[in-house]
């Protein structure tokens, strides 16, 4: 781990072990995510993809192993418990959006801006509107409650909230799950455009093969508690591990690959 490489690595996971009772989810998992890339994490259900995400954003502590995010040690948690302002440098979009249901959509985006910056209420409102429009939400939706808008719109609102403080790192948990294919590919394009424009690093847990093809620079496959394969989607597809073959070359995988070929 040379000092030069350190500055290119946004997330470094070493020897991660996660145990829940008698069940071991991660067994010595190593992973590097580079700055400016979009990495997609795939793997069978129950392999601990979302757990990994939660551990990286310091919501859960692993049983063993180290996690560094943007040079800050996240696990094992430093005794001071201090994330050194890391929580203002990342944005997290949870699977169902996790929007605060008592606030309007716009207030959800305003909340982090109000909480952490000294920006005036009026400008904060303008910025929140910009973020929501960037995420593809029409004006009428800004003042609605999360319960009053569709699932796809909630995802967009959650993305806008994750982007409220202009993070360097964006975490997406199943960003396109539950969206119709048209909305899903729109969402993919949105993530790609925003990443290119803002220079984000994106860590994405997904099952969506189209998203992997369309958006991700690299794909990491979690199998039996480790990163079984990592690389561009074509590199990973070329591997002969049985699950990988079934995943990428099953009917859905082929369809996603073909559509990209066209």
């Amino acid at each position: 781990m040379s000092a030069a490489a350190d500055s290119d690595v946004a997330i470094r996971v070493r020897g991660l072990v996660s145990q829940f009772g008698t069940q071991t989810v991660h067994r010595g998992l190593d992973l590097d995510v580079y700055r400016g890339e979009i990495i997609g994490i795939v793997g069978p259900s129950g392999e601990g993809k979302s757990v990994l995400l939660r551990q990286i954003v310091a919501l859960e502590q692993p049983s063993a192993g180290e996690i560094h995010v943007l040079g800050v040690q996240v696990a094992p948690r430093l005794p001071s418990g201090d994330l050194q302002g890391l929580d203002k440098r990342w944005g997290v979009m949870f699977q169902d959006g996790a929007l605060f249901s008592t606030l309007s959509v716009k207030e959800n985006v305003l909340l982090p801006i109000r909480e952490h910056t000294e920006i005036t209420e009026k400008l904060a409102g303008e910025l929140a509107d910009i973020k929501l429009t960037m995420a593809g939400l029409s004006d009428e939706a800004h003042h609605k409650r999360p319960a009053e808008i569709s699932g796809g719109m909630r995802k967009r609102a959650a993305l806008a909230r994750a982007l409220a403080l202009e993070p360097e790192l964006l975490f997406l948990d199943e960003p396109t799950a539950g969206l119709d294919p048209v909305s899903a590919s729109r969402f993919d394009r949105l993530v790609r455009e925003l990443t290119d424009a803002l220079g984000l690093t994106v860590f994405m847990v997904t099952h969506d093969l189209d998203t992997l093809h369309e958006v991700c620079d690299r794909v990491a496959v979690l199998l039996s508690g480790r990163v079984a394969a990592i690389g561009t989607i074509d590199e990973v597809r070329a591997l002969t591990q049985p699950w990988i073959i079934e995943y990428f070359s099953g009917p859905r995988g082929r369809a996603a690959a073909n559509s990209r070929g066209k």
Binding site: L70, I113, T120, L123, L127, I130, A147, L194
Partner: protein, 384 residues
């Protein structure tokens, strides 16, 4: 451990260049640094800087917030509305054009100014809303009560459809488990009434009538009212929360599409369970209340428990006991129906569940007290 270097403060200068005004920006323009610039930028935006070029040669870091502010300044300061005029950028910066594009791409049409309402209008609107809401609530309660009664009627005809297991579970959690707290409360109420009687009646030299006072109060009112209020606080809220979270997680919808009527499966067992348990609880609450009365009359007035009981037998007619007991099942139905109704009417968001639980407790206590008052009038009229 690397940290982002401290951001350079964001500043700007409005220069007059050869081709018009130039907005020369300096430092880092990010969401963390631009808070102080807003007012000054708005001030010059209206006319001075309209159409200005942006000189970014001294610009450090930039994000969407910073780019938005620059763009807003050169296109007149309005937070909304579209513009075709391209932004002229002087100097080189890795991503300023891209970010200004992003900020501009997020432009929205200006909303129409809202029609102002006078405060009298708003007051009247609220009053009207509240009134029609109350009326609709009442209609809804009555219609739900009717629905429940038809469901129960149908179950009597076809008892096989009754969910006995569910009913016994509710009898235990809502009935049996509430027994200790109800008895303790009733005991203390008995103490309070007995003390009150001992103090006041002593002034008239009629301390012995404390027995009648305690018996009348506990038998007619306190036994049943304490039980009902405890059930409202403990059970109506639980029913609303249970059914409400099932509603939120679409479990109720799942039942309906599986051909299971939630009135049969969820409401009927709960209503019946409380209907059976409330009289039992009331009876035990009455005993506990009398126990509290006996304790105090014995300790403060020296009336022995035996004397207390035999005096009750002699001078307190049995009607008083029935007055209390008759009310128990009626309160029980009101409480269970109110709890279940609010549960089933919960919306899909968390806040509505909280509101429903509160409303269900307040409403069931309200109904209990109002009905109790009506009963009091009625029993006096029929001479009980």
């Amino acid at each position: 451990m690397q940290q982002r270097e401290t951001p350079a403060p964001a500043t700007f200068q409005l220069l007059t260049g050869a081709g018009g005004p130039v907005l020369a920006v300096r430092g880092d323009w990010t969401v963390w640094t631009v808070s102080g610039l807003d007012a000054a930028l708005l001030e010059i935006a209206a006319h001075d800087s309209l159409g200005a070029a942006i000189d970014v040669s001294a610009l450090g870091q930039l994000d969407v917030a910073g780019a938005y502010l620059m763009d807003r300044t050169v296109r007149g300061g309005s937070p909304c509305g579209y513009t075709d005029t391209p932004v002229r950028i002087l100097g080189a910066h890795p991503n300023v054009e891209r970010l200004i594009d992003v900020a501009r791409g997020a432009a929205r049409p200006c909303p129409l100014a809202p029609v102002p309402y006078s405060s009298l209008d708003l007051l009247l609107e609220r009053a009207g809303r509240g009134l029609s809401q109350a009326w609709l609530e009442l209609l809804d309660t009555i219609s739900f009560l009717g629905q429940t009664l038809t469901t129960l009627g149908a179950l009597v005809l076809r008892p096989k459809r009754m969910r006995w297991a569910s009913m016994f579970t509710v009898m235990e959690t809502a009935g049996l488990n509430a027994l200790p707290i109800i008895c303790v409360l009733a005991f203390f109420i008995g103490i309070v009434v007995a003390y009150l009687g001992a103090r006041i009646l002593a002034d008239f030299g009629a301390s012995i009538f404390t027995v009648e006072l305690v018996a009348y109060a506990i038998l007619r009112e306190f036994g049943v009212v304490i039980t009902a209020i405890l059930l409202a606080g403990r059970t109506a809220s639980a029913f609303t929360a249970e059914l409400g979270s099932m509603k939120m997680r679409q479990e109720i919808d799942a039942m309906r599409v599986l051909g299971i009527n939630p009135m049969d499966a969820l409401v009927a067992p709960r209503v019946l369970a409380i209907l059976f348990m409330a009289p039992l609880l009331t009876f035990l609450a009455i005993l506990a209340g009398l126990g509290g009365g006996i304790t105090i009359t014995w300790a403060a007035l020296g009336i022995s428990p035996l004397l207390f009981l035999s005096r009750i037998q002699e001078s307190v007619p049995i009607e008083h006991f029935f007055v209390g007991m008759i009310k128990a099942p009626i309160f029980a139905v009101v409480i269970a129906v109110t709890g279940c109704r609010h549960g089933l009417q919960t919306g899909t968001d968390v806040a509505s569940l909280g509101r429903r639980v509160t409303t269900s407790v307040v409403q069931s206590i309200f109904f209990v007290v109002v009905l109790d008052a009506l009963f009091a009038l009625w029993f006096i009229e029929i001479g009980w």
